[in-house]
């Protein structure tokens, strides 16, 4: 279990962590998602004891870690830069934790352990090579192996799949989650890839400017994003956010488009209505919208269609099955349907703060 409360860390004038609150439960796979510079790596290093927080506390299994040296914390970390020992072979890198005074496994046992992990990561054939002669993807797997090879209170993984090619990344993503080591060990996983976070995280924490803005399961993050920025971070194509004004009956967006969202907001309030592209259908049931096709893009078995809504210039994109959308051409009139309960409502974005979600009434 990892608990951070009120953790603040500054480097000179820049604030890396600004009162960060985080709780990772025992055995949980927790994904920290955020753009670069949000403080994700600093969070990991603070948990590992490589950085000392200016204030706030770090607990591991309920134990205050203040003043505890990194080698006594019993956590393993995979660095984004790999941090492999360049003067040693891949084998020696993997065996390094097992030879340390903390673990000190007998050589035979260590060899077996390293062999098993190398097998798992598909690097058995590379063990004799100096790490300088490995590709970035291979180095990344060695770095991940150095974490998995040893028992740990917690795994701290900093973008461990970022340099693998797309196919290998997908495969490793599936395997990583299935590994016994990972299943039994509390894991804090840092990524800037929302797909990865949704695929891996038992829970996800969204980090922005040194703070966690939302924590939750993938369903909570997906269906109840705390603000427009979190809503934009998840899902490709991105969520449609239509500017509109609250009226007596719902929300009126540009181009005389009426949307049936009810909320406790005063009429006249500027809002943004969120529509996920996969929640809009071409020939379904529900609330109807009309528009004309702007452009279509084939995605394989489905088609991304961008539609100009109503009479205005406001565009929404949606993803429709090939059969429904293949014949659409630009400027064709279309009829769209949405379920009112799938609509999200946000305050209008302000320059200094993305619009927060407004609770809607069914």
């Amino acid at each position: 279990m990892i608990t951070l409360s009120g953790v603040r860390k500054t480097y000179g004038r820049t604030v890396a962590l600004d009162g960060l609150e985080l709780e990772v439960r025992e055995g949980e796979f927790f994904c920290l998602l955020g753009p670069s510079g949000a403080g994700k790596t600093t969070t990991l290093k603070t948990v590992a004891g490589l950085e000392q927080p200016d204030s706030g506390t770090v607990l591991l299994d309920g134990e205050d870690m203040r003043g505890v040296e990194p080698y006594d914390r019993g956590v393993a970390m995979c660095f984004e830069s790999y941090a492999l020992y360049p003067h040693r072979s891949a084998y020696d890198n993997l065996a390094s934790p097992l030879r340390s005074p903390r673990h000190r496994l007998p050589a035979a046992e260590a060899r077996q352990r390293v062999g098993a992990v190398a097998e798992l990561l598909g690097i058995s054939g590379l063990l004799d090579r100096p790490v300088g002669r490995l590709s970035n993807g291979q180095r990344q797997r060695v770095a991940l192996g150095r974490v998995l090879v040893r028992p740990a209170r917690a795994f701290l993984l900093d973008e461990p799949l970022s340099h693998l090619d797309a196919k290998l990344r997908q495969q490793m993503r599936a395997e990583l989650k299935a590994l016994g080591e990972v299943q039994h060990t509390t894991t804090l996983y840092v990524t800037h890839d929302s797909v990865e976070a949704l695929a891996l995280g038992d829970r996800i924490g969204v980090v922005r400017q040194g703070r966690i803005v939302q924590t939750g399961t993938r369903e909570e993050i997906w269906y109840r994003p705390c603000d427009t920025e979190v809503a934009r971070a998840f899902g490709r194509p991105r969520i449609n956010l239509l500017p509109g004004v609250v009226t007596e009956r719902g929300v009126r967006a540009d181009g005389e488009v009426e949307l049936p969202v009810r909320a406790e907001a005063a009429p006249g309030t500027d809002v943004l209505v969120g529509l996920r592209p996969r929640d809009i259908t071409l020939h379904g049931e529900g609330h109807e919208l009309t528009g004309t096709v702007y452009v279509t893009e084939a995605l394989g078995r489905s088609v991304e269609v961008t539609v100009r809504l109503g009479a205005g210039e406001q565009r929404v994109s949606l993803v429709a099955p090939w059969a429904d959308a293949a014949r659409l051409r630009a400027d064709d009139p279309v009829r769209l349907t949405v379920w009112p309960e799938n609509l999200l409502l946000f305050e209008a974005d302000r320059p200094e703060r993305p619009g927060r979600r407004i609770e809607t009434q069914a």
């Binding site: 990194p70 790999y82 673990h103």
Partner: protein, 274 residues
């Protein structure tokens, strides 16, 4: 056509520089091969002889040149070794941590190189006489720290600073202590730097003239001062001085040739993603 002309010009310039650079050495070689009685008679026509070297290495003329040579070796190697033992941890600490006064400390260390040695040599002479360090190995190794220590600390500091701290951090998380992280990870990675800076420091220590001139008399005297002994007496023997000087060039030269390959940097290549 124009390219070829430029090539010839470059060659000519290089040859000119080559002659310019090697002339003093050639002159020394010629001088060292002259017999004593032909020293001042001619420039290039003489009967070459190795007598000069025989005299110098045979300790004749009452000047124990071989001992000076050994003294130089002991004192220079000692000074470099001590500087490494003291300087490597200092360089590492100053590269990794900012503590109060760390920059002042580093600057003070560097400032030892600013002051001409002559400004401190008289007080040092008095101190050494009182402390019994005059004309001893310990005294020479100690005073040469002024030459070797700042060099080693400053150059090694930049080598350590170039290493990403994440390598040692990885070692800490692997379960090694900070001391082990230094010895097992950081130190092996700066080996090329250690080789290069040791060679430089050795050459500076070996070539130092002022300290042995004032702080030694006979027992711990080094070649730089010792070679001049041949100029004393009623007739200066330039041929012997030249032979002594050439002999004393040999150790730094050999050292430079043997560790040449370490002087090339880049062993840490591949440590981190590029």
């Amino acid at each position: 056509m124009r390219k070829r002309l430029l090539g010839w010009l470059a060659d000519a310039a290089l040859i000119l520089y080559f002659v310019f650079a090697l002339f003093p050495i050639a002159w020394m070689v010629i001088l060292s091969l002259k017999p004593t009685d032909q020293l001042f008679s001619t420039y290039f026509s003489f009967s070459p002889t190795l007598d000069g070297y025989r005299t110098v290495l045979g300790d004749s003329e009452g000047i124990p040149f071989v001992r000076f040579f050994v003294n130089s070796l002991v004192v220079s190697v000692g000074a470099v070794a001590l500087s490494l033992v003291v300087g490597l941890p200092a360089a590492y600490a100053s590269a990794r941590w900012r503590f109060r006064g760390s920059e002042n400390l580093m600057f003070t260390l560097l400032s030892f190189r600013f002051a001409p040695e002559l400004t401190v040599i008289i007080p040092l002479f008095v101190l050494y006489q009182k402390l019994g360090l005059f004309d001893t190995y310990v005294g020479m190794v100690w005073v040469l720290q002024l030459v070797t220590l700042p060099l080693i600390v400053w150059i090694m500091r930049s080598y350590f600073a170039d290493l990403t701290p994440e390598l040692e951090q990885a070692a800490l998380l692997d379960g090694y202590t900070r001391k082990q992280a230094f010895f097992r990870v950081a130190l092996p990675l700066v080996k090329p730097g250690i080789a290069a800076v040791s060679l430089l420091a050795f050459i500076f220590a070996w070539n130092n003239f002022v300290f042995p001139l004032i702080l030694t008399s006979n027992e711990a005297q080094t070649v730089t001062v010792g070679a001049l002994s041949f100029l004393g007496g009623d007739r200066p023997k330039y041929n012997l001085t030249a032979a002594a000087a050439l002999v004393s060039v040999v150790p730094p030269l050999l050292l430079a040739l043997t560790i040449q390959r370490y002087l090339v940097r880049g062993l840490s290549f591949g440590a981190v993603k590029s």
